[in-house]
């Protein structure tokens, strides 16, 4: 990676793209010219890191920016669930950080409060192979105007113990939901059960139940935001999870986001869905027993349902500039600087694959191949479907997600609190309340 670090950075405010050898061919028409305001100061609020390398490199990049542009940047951090309300308050009151790095469909709640960054996104897209199409519903809702700069996703994959799935009779991880069911049953029989969160775990619960629902052809709304959850397809997904649930380790109904990490690293479960953090935690653990486990951990993309193509759901990261900022140009320059490969490459490297960038060029980043166990996370953006598929994002989709309508529906059906049919009808009713407006 040293060649990236050594590479010269752009000259201040230069109207040209970076020079020097690229790891990909870029569009020569990518043009950028911008001059930060004199004496600009920026406040950035972002989600606090999941892996230490992320924040260390991020702050190093920030320092580079400060030194180069003489713009003071203060970076505040909050747990990612807490950034959403803070960003909302900032939007509501018209005061707060100039730039907020937040999650999921936040930008769609207050698009008119955000600085138009179409020029920046066009430039970045041209230079780095374009943003993945899934970024559009999140940050270019009308297909033309960008209201934020996509950063990437915290990819979620299947995390499993190699020796345990071997013992269960599987040499490779199954690609489809049928094989996945067989694997879970075999793992349970071998006494090495899987475990998937069914509590109010915003990340870990949604990222496995939504892909299953979509994989069976179910969805909350159609393209005109009409609730179509109550369908034979969703019902099949619910019946699938009902059959799957008895294979889980006990207690998953109570699981919040951290539970599966703890249970996996303790050896109590052999399979779960998670970001790369479990593997990373094992690899860097000071406990020799856990460090040894790292060699036995591998990842696979989420199983494909009967629809025959990937339908993953990931935690999406956006970067928003608020209109109340006094320094919109400096803010844009900051985001551009951070997204340029000179900064992005070492950052992606330091985040050890936790963040899958939103620009397709980064598929070629060495992080994805330097360790073959990283590779599935490379495709997290490509395989991903947008929140509130297949409708438009906004208050209804955010509300449905925040109120755990889909998660609760699956949890009810799985635990036998309600029959799949009843859970489905209730889910439909709850979703309709949000999409009514």
């Amino acid at each position: 990676m040293s060649n990236f670090k050594r590479r010269d950075v752009l000259k201040a405010g230069a109207a040209t793209a970076a020079v020097g050898p690229m790891i990909w061919v870029k569009d020569a028409s990518a043009q950028w010219s911008n001059q930060p305001e004199k004496g600009a100061k920026l406040r950035v609020l972002r989600w606090s890191q999941f892996v230490q390398g992320d924040i260390d490199q991020y702050l190093a990049n920030v320092k580079k920016f400060q030194d180069k542009y003489d713009v003071e940047v203060r970076v505040d951090r909050e747990l990612w669930n807490d950034v959403t309300p803070k960003a909302a308050v900032a939007a509501n009151t018209g005061a707060g950080p100039d730039i907020i790095l937040s999650t999921n469909d936040d930008a769609n709640l207050y698009p008119e409060k955000l600085v138009d960054v179409t020029d920046l996104c066009t430039y970045l897209g041209k230079k780095y192979g374009g943003f993945y199409p899934v970024c559009d519903p999140y940050l270019r809702p009308d297909g033309k105007k960008w209201i934020g700069v996509p950063l990437g996703v915290a990819g979620v994959c299947m995390v499993y113990r190699i020796s345990h799935i071997k013992a269960a009779g599987f040499d490779t991880f199954p690609r489809d939901t049928d094989g996945f069911m067989k694997l879970c049953k075999a793992l349970k029989d071998k006494g090495t059960p899987p475990g998937f969160a069914l509590g109010h775990a915003t990340g870990d619960a949604n990222t496995w139940v939504q892909p299953l629902m979509w994989g069976f052809g179910g969805k909350v709304v159609d393209t005109s935001n009409k609730v179509v959850l109550d369908s034979p397809e969703t019902l099949r997904a619910l019946e699938f999870v009902k059959e799957l649930y008895p294979t889980f380790v006990p207690g998953t109904l109570s699981w919040l986001d951290p539970n599966n990490n703890k249970a996996f690293l303790d050896g109590q479960i052999s399979l779960t869905n998670n970001g790369i953090s479990i593997y990373y935690a094992a690899k860097t653990s000071k406990d020799p027993k856990i460090a040894e486990m790292a060699a036995d951990i591998n990842h696979a993309n989420m199983p494909i349902g009967p629809i025959g193509k990937p339908s993953e759901f990931q935690l999406f990261f956006n970067q928003m500039i608020f209109k109340y900022t006094k320094y919109p140009k400096a803010a844009k320059e900051f985001l551009r600087f951070m997204m340029e490969e000179e900064q992005m490459n070492p950052w992606v490297q330091a985040a050890i694959g936790y963040v899958t960038p939103a620009l397709t060029a980064y598929e070629k980043h060495p992080i994805w191949t330097s360790d073959p166990k990283h590779t599935p996370y490379r495709d997290s953006m490509r395989n991903m479907w947008p929140s509130g598929y297949s409708g438009k994002m906004g208050y209804a989709s955010a509300g449905t997600l925040a109120d755990f309508v889909v998660v609760d529906m699956f949890a009810e059906a799985a635990s036998g609190q309600r029959s799949p049919k009843e859970a489905l009808e209730r889910g439909q009713k709850r979703a309709e309340r949000y999409y009514k407006v």
């Binding site: 939007a91 409060k113 109904l253 919040l256 955010a398 949890a411 209730r426 407006v437």
Partner: protein, 304 residues
Amino acid sequence: MSNRTGLARALDNRNVLGLLFLLPAAVLLLLFLTYPLGLGTYLGFTDAKIGRPGEWVGLENYEFLFGDSVARLSLFNTLFYTVVASVLKFVLGLWLALLLNKHLPFKAMLRAIVLLPYIVPTALSAIAFWWIFDSQFSIISWTLMKLGLIDRYIDFLGDPWNARLSTIAANVWRGVPFVAICLLAGLQTISPSFYEAASLDGASPWQQFRYVTLPLLTPIIAVVMTFSVLFTFTDFQLIYVLTRGGPLNATHLMATLSFQRAISGGALGEGAALATAMVPFLLAAILFSYFGLQRRAWQQGGRD
């Protein structure tokens, strides 16, 4: 000159001066209490979303919430949580206060220790309970397993009723010290001569408690339990850390659901309506303690 004398004369007026001295407190109250409360109530009648001012929609939010099974469940959860936790806190707190009022060795230290749960920040103690109730790492389950009393870990937070009782246990643990210490303070205001007189009359310990302690303690009990009920009814942090309202919304209190709807979900108006819906219950609790428990006749051992 005449202006100055006018001002000086006004300042000499007791009423004017009184109002003037009242002003800072009144401004603080208006600014930090009345205004947010009024704004919250107003928002409850609008369809305000985060980042978008709302329009007046009248009672629509309340109609919506009334028809919402999750909101109704949260009302039930809140009442159940408040009633059970408050009763337990009262009984345990009173018991603890009576014990601490006796002449024990290391009395001062014991009293300090009793206060500990109350001193620890809620979020921290909630995290401790989160580990205690963990489905995989629970110390309680582990101990019982090692003792051979159970053959699988207890699903403290994964089963709706277990989760309700577990969160109540955590709330009681945290709330008992407040009740105990306040009641202890109350007990110490009761003059020993009452007990002397009672024992001379041949009153049993139970009779002493029933006819001396309890009536004299009632004013304190009324105040302490009012606060205790208010705190419990509006509890947020404990639930937010332990379950986020799960499993299956079984532990969602009105406060947590209100936050989830208003802030995470962006439906500011609906969340405000849900929060406002808590006010009548809180007022009822205050009025009950005011008119019910503060009656002098009852406090003096008589009947109405």
